[in-house]
Symmetry: C2
Subunit: 481 residues, 2 copies
Amino acid sequence: MLELGPVPASIAAAYDAERFRADGHRLIDRMADHLAAATGRDDAPVIPWVAPADAAGPWPADFGDEPAEDLVDVLDRTAAGSIRLHHPRYLGHQVPPPIPGAALADAMAALLNNGMAVYEMGGAATPQELAVIDWMARTLGLPATAGGLLTSGGSAGNLTALLAARQASAGFDAWTAGAHAGPPLTVLVAATAHYSVARAVRALGWGDAGATPVAVDARWRLDPADLPRALADATAAGRRVIAVVASAGSTATGAYDPLEPIADFCAAHRLWLHVDGAHGAAAALSPRHRHHVRGIERADSVVWDAHKLLALPALCTAVIYRDVARSYEAFAQEASYLFAPEREWWNLGLRTLECTKRMMGTILYAGLRAYGVGFFRDYVERVFALGQAFAARLAAAPDFELATHPDANIVVFRYRPASGPSDPAELDALQARVRRRCLEAGRFYFLQTRLGGALWLRTALMNPLTAGEELDGVLAAIRQA
Amino acid sequence: MLELGPVPASIAAAYDAERFRADGHRLIDRMADHLAAATGRDDAPVIPWVAPADAAGPWPADFGDEPAEDLVDVLDRTAAGSIRLHHPRYLGHQVPPPIPGAALADAMAALLNNGMAVYEMGGAATPQELAVIDWMARTLGLPATAGGLLTSGGSAGNLTALLAARQASAGFDAWTAGAHAGPPLTVLVAATAHYSVARAVRALGWGDAGATPVAVDARWRLDPADLPRALADATAAGRRVIAVVASAGSTATGAYDPLEPIADFCAAHRLWLHVDGAHGAAAALSPRHRHHVRGIERADSVVWDAHKLLALPALCTAVIYRDVARSYEAFAQEASYLFAPEREWWNLGLRTLECTKRMMGTILYAGLRAYGVGFFRDYVERVFALGQAFAARLAAAPDFELATHPDANIVVFRYRPASGPSDPAELDALQARVRRRCLEAGRFYFLQTRLGGALWLRTALMNPLTAGEELDGVLAAIRQA
């Protein structure tokens, strides 16, 4: 019998439960201290800016054979070098300061590491995922036939939904026979949609013309009146239109495409309706904001990121189908070591891009149980109120211009002092300069974006602890910069 | 000025640092207790089996407005309902019991939640990711031009690499012009490759014929002698062959495709060589096992899952290109609110399927610093030694049959008692029955797979704490079942 020998000391040490306990308690205190400093509005920068060329300094790649640094110390240094989403002066991307308790759920999920491809590798995580999907589908008003799964981000989610749309609507079996078995495909979508849609159609082999642009209205929303023209043009160009992709809301401005007339158009022309609600589907939680997603209950597929307006850490994206049977067609494939040939609803890997997958559902399930739906509604209403409050300040300030009144918590604006430039290029340069100076100072973090050919400043107000003082403060900081 | 009002109580409570601290310390103790029980070989089942139809019981979807359960209690229940990867009787999938400290790193990464699409949203995580990619590329022996990124799993990794291969080798701009602008594409790949390759080619619109099968040898490795035939057949069928996909090792048996002759073939025919090293690339860490991946340094792209043989929690997959410039071609796309038009190496979202991404690099970086490269080498050598030791036991047991001598830590075998059936269908049924009974008993967890048309039992020995007693024990359990 081949002799195994004892477990090496390095392995025994790494897997020692008491070492984990001691490291864990130390880490929790450091994490709590970081959180307290950020939520307590300390005076340190919200972003500790270092030029990219200098970034590698603290993080060399010369890993040696032996342990070189205490685990908690590496993580502490990581926190010190990272942008602080929990600070109320974080006015940045559509990435929330996660509920701190969700980071605890994440730790348990990581330790358990149930791989989720098959039910056996997710005895709790699988029913938890199906439960949260069920809750999300009901929240959106989808019918009882609805169902879906969680996947690793909105980009993967949009790709997955488009695969299902292709199989349902292409008119030929693109999965098995390939693209050449039918005409080139396309979807109708506004240029304001997230770039992952444009990427997905190109990955699927539809090329640039795989996304047929639909005009937007003055508020950068898809204009349903342009859909017949877009459909006719794409068809005349030899493309088969399989779907309309609507944004709820769009990335740049947070504006919601008008879903009801889009759904009418899809019904009339038998097109798949995919709603990218990665950012804004959570409006359905609020009686006050639910009207923005009216019509989403008529979608064939919806993407909804829990790591945006449900305040979870990345990544946790729901792909929900009006008819759950469609979910099996996105990846019409089997692997004998995993799946039996029949449709096994309990083995989620049949329907996800991932084979091994994180226990994402556990984190959302735990959040809904521990904080209640009320917390999530309060979160959405708070960050949407921040958007309204910031827009009101900008509208009242003579030296600022608001791009459009925000539907949600994303606000696009620019600095136009009376003494400033009126030439478009110089105006763009002013925004870039202001943004650069504020970034390097690190006190406030906000963004820039191109909209209608011009450069604008942009914020997604994701931190519910942000208050009026920060909204006033960022305008003052821009004036000074 | 629109009045914001105070932060709602539900939000203040959820984001309270002291609540986090208290919950965190409680959770760490529960996690440490779970870990101690599993690594201490307690007598409870390794998998607490519940039939899928009954799984929803403890996890209803009726979330109410108010908090309904203590966070730590939900997570504790989750642990109790999950398969225990840290128990030495876990002999299951290619999913490791993660280093417990990595779960702590995961918690910090989740709390910081730096979104990674742009450098600003990952001031520490971006250089950490580039550092671990650099270390992985050097470990594989790739040239100084090599580089890449981390993505959410091996399936996303293989898809990403095939997108780059398509752009480099299709002979037309498939990204922009679409599939119809050129002939149908295909890759040469053995049927033993992971199912994610077969899925990826179908997602890309190449259909069933997008994967041209290459014969395997008696040990289920790609047979390089069959490559010219496969190339000729695919070409004769009107397909353009753009790449060979080799497995290091393959999923079912862990066998390594012979990379050197495959690389010779690719060089002679100017084909992209993609090596799916999701499972086995880590053999490069061990002088004893490095020979299995000889030739990997000649690959154009490699996928390597840190959440397999680097013992990290899912998901953390490296996509490494021989020429880092290729990494920009997988997703030749820009989004104005994120990226400037030039190639910004520091904004990783240009090159990943994900827009928002987890801080995966942080977890691997912290692991390499805190445990040293020596730990990871010891891990690989230990689990490979387990594969050898288990194979030796099976070879010595008259009532068991070994499918093939294992290269790595995956062992495929079946139970063939002298008194048992010889009819193939009955022999298959015996394996399924044995596996089912052991699953339901929950004492040992192992798998079944189809190989060469027959049903076999299978284990990936991922737990380095597994010892001879478990290897003997599972054979005894199978005999009893």
